[in-house]
Amino acid sequence: MIDPIHPSDDRRVPVSPQLAFRVAIMGGVALILFAIIFFRLWYLQVLSSSQYTQLAAQNVTRELPIAAPRGSILARGGQTLAGTESTAAVQVNPSKLPTSPAARTALYRRLAWVLQIKSRDVNALIKQGEATLPYANVTIATDVSQAQRDYILERAQDFPGVTAQPIYVRDYPLNDLAAQVLGTVGVLNKFDQQQSRYRSVQAGTIVGQSGVEAAYDRYLRGIPGEQQVEVNAFGRAQPTPLPEIQPTPGDEVRLTLDLPLEEEGEKALQQGIGLAQSNGNPASRGAFVAMNPLNGEVLAMGSAPTFDPNIFTHPLTPAQVKALDGGGNDNPPAPQLNRAIQGLYPTGSTFKPITAMAGLEAGLITPETTMGGGSCVTIGNECLHNSGEVNDGSLDLENALRVSEDTYFYLLGAMENSQNPRGGVLQKMAHYLGLGELTGVDLPGEEPGNIPDPAWRAKVDREEAICKCGVADGRPWSVGDNVNLATGQGDLQATPLQMAVVYSSLADAYRNDGYGRVPVPHLGLEIDNPQGQLIQRIASPPGRHIHLNEGDLSVVMDGLHMAASAPGGTSSDVWTGWNQDAVPVYGKTGTAVRNGQSDQAWYCCYLPGTATRSPIVIVVTIEQGGFGDQSAAPVARLMASEWYGVQEKLVAGTSATL
């Protein structure tokens, strides 16, 4: 096939000058190109190396937080109200899941079968977790049994991307006790992170969502550690070990709450609700507050109905969500609402000491002034009755407070009326003692309430004129408004905590010759480190100074004491058998009339301290609880018994006064 080569065609070519020149050109071009590449490499690898190294690092590393164990919340006596426990959790690493949809579905089904949940829920949880914090593990189930954990760990090849390992979860060992006060925790999502309070916190961290958990979050949450993870171009994590920073556990917060009193309060509130129900009232909701009137330390606070905050530390089931948001009820039970600071109610006759002090301070009445005889008094065009249309006769102030004579306070309210936009002496006294403004308690979400005055009425009338939504009837301020307010009815809105502040202010002034303070209620007592050593004591906020006439104040306090102890006193029967000499009770019942509902029961009382116990102000309210004496006052007695270590005794009152 290959013929001999014809020499003439392919002769040997000596290197001609032309070829030499052209070879030189090729060599020269090669040299120039090599030089260009060389200098380009020099530029990239030597001159700009640090910049590209940085870009490379950005490409491959993602920082994942390591959760810090959250600090405990302790009661005054050191009992744990909220702790952190380690639980066996099943987590899924989304970036290690199989890529094919079919394999994923099969994995979800296997996982759901082992964990006894729906595979739809598994999918939803993973999607939600990925949206909250990419690359991080998503918790599918907590409190996984040893058998379930072993099953998954032994079949690792069947569960790609699934781990069973201990994680920290918030634990409330006493379940629903003081649930609204302690609050809840949850994962900080990107949206909440925009809020100023959590701006510096990384999304995905467990933070307080309400209550003490939110108020003291910066102490409780600790500092998360950081695990760097190397990812490839597709975002899949690599097994390369990178340095990690250990988390710093959160500090402990010790509260002013007295655990036995808190427990007794919650139990007693349920008993009070039971009493109200036995009287035919559809009661189920209420609140109580107990505080030290001298420094504002909240000793107990509770709200019914309640809930178990532990459910928020585990993946929520649809049924639990429904139970929490009331399931479409018009008037949902809202168990997460802390009625002690967020429940706004008219206070009924518990308001009367304010009316009395306003009248005395303004000189409208003297302690000896008697009025209110007959079963009704005429104000404007109406004849206003006592409750039950009883006729207690014309009484002086002390006795009017003792029997809670409405006619006396109707007349006094009419005397105190003023068309001044900010109202008259009554409004002034109510604000002076702490109503109509935030108490400043160290809990989020407190409501300021409202003391109605002519300016407020004008405002709601204007709103009504625009919206026609029934917020007001469009009439101007009248004496009837002031009469209503004088007896704690009508448009008055106050929280149980505000009433505790009012009674504390009166008590403090009473103990100090008329010079007292409006205490700022607070729950934080001290911050301890995780080993329990004191880091910082939380000082009681000083409170605003007030001065009341000493003589006038003692008349009002005597009236309150008579109401709780003297024959005919509205709550005397509730305190039957109480040693009034050792611990006198200054207490006032209240029954707020509410449109379309049963009356709301109230009781506010102050008990001076003993050698072993600090003074205490107790406020109890029960929505639709009927007369204050019949359901709210017995709760206060049970709590007082617990506080002073007296034999507990549930005594239902019989007084039917407002």
Partner: protein
Amino acid sequence: MNLSPIQTLEEEPVAVPRGLVLPFDPLLLLSVIGLGAASLLTLGGATRNDVPGSPHYYVERQAIYLGVGLVLMLVISRIDYSRLRELKYGIYCALIFSIVVVLGVGSSANGSQRAINLPLFSFQGSELGKDLLIVSLSAFVVDRSRRLRERETTARIMLLALVPALFVIAQPDLGSGLVYVAIAFAVLFVAGCPWQHFLALLTLGAVAIALVLVAAPAVGVHVLKPYQTQRLTAFLHPSSDPQEAGYQQLESKIAIGSGGKTGRGANATQTKLEFVPEHGTDFIFAAVGELYGFVGASIVLSLYALLIWRALRILTLSKNMFGTLVAGGIIAMLMFQIFVNVGMAVGIMPITGVTLPLLSYGGSSVITIAIAVGLLQSIYLQGRSAAALKGRVLRF
């Protein structure tokens, strides 16, 4: 039919003269072995995670390719390349056939049909076609060596190169197509084609490029696929579209830049974790740069410089015009691939998808270069023998 060329050679008294110690150019062999070793080292680092469960998948295969290539090279170096001239028509037909067959029945990789999957490796016609084109084109030029100054010669040679080039571009494999054109230019250049012809060809080329890239798309005719156009122009503004065409080049630059002076070795991330695509084939220089830094990249470049230098030297040693032209074609192929590929990796050349000779993973590519180096060795041996017989020993 009666004789095998090798036997003929052996029967002739090829007296090995004094001074000619080795039947091959040792520096050329050194550069090839050095580049092969660099390829294995780089693949070992960069492709560890590519095939789950077998970290040495690519290294093992590349080692086999390089071994086969080395044997092939040694065998070819012992053959007198001059005899291939007589097979020019067969070789040219084989060239066209291999490209057309791939176009017809080949499997498509990344949207283009470039290879036929064989049991051991996938056969890329356009790669082997480079060698076939060099040999056949050189043979055609030698045939017309007395009429080199005629325009017709230049036109015919260009036409012979453009036919397979256009087939390859249609696969589409733009890079190899451009290599074919470069080979044709180089063969004509070394043969002594007049400067005016090159000027005319360059003008024609510029007009064609303008037509393909600017004018034709403007009137709705897309000669190149949109991604090809985008790749060709992306290097001018790589940051404008980091997710698309510019992405590869940006990642390649990050990888090379992060390598620094001495490289990141085992800590390399960009090429290992697939930020740089094709880090075993087209972008292997990025892996060299990241793994072994400026030092490693410079060593590789030096080996290429050695290769080019020896090839140029062998060109001048050839015993006949055919050898000179074949060497010229091989030099053009090597230089084009080296500079376009490395230029692409460092971000100063467009992305055209040519392999880096001997470094890029791939059987077709390695074998093609091995055959080319074998031809160079053959030209060297024949040239030295002829000179020795004439009593003239050329020293390098």
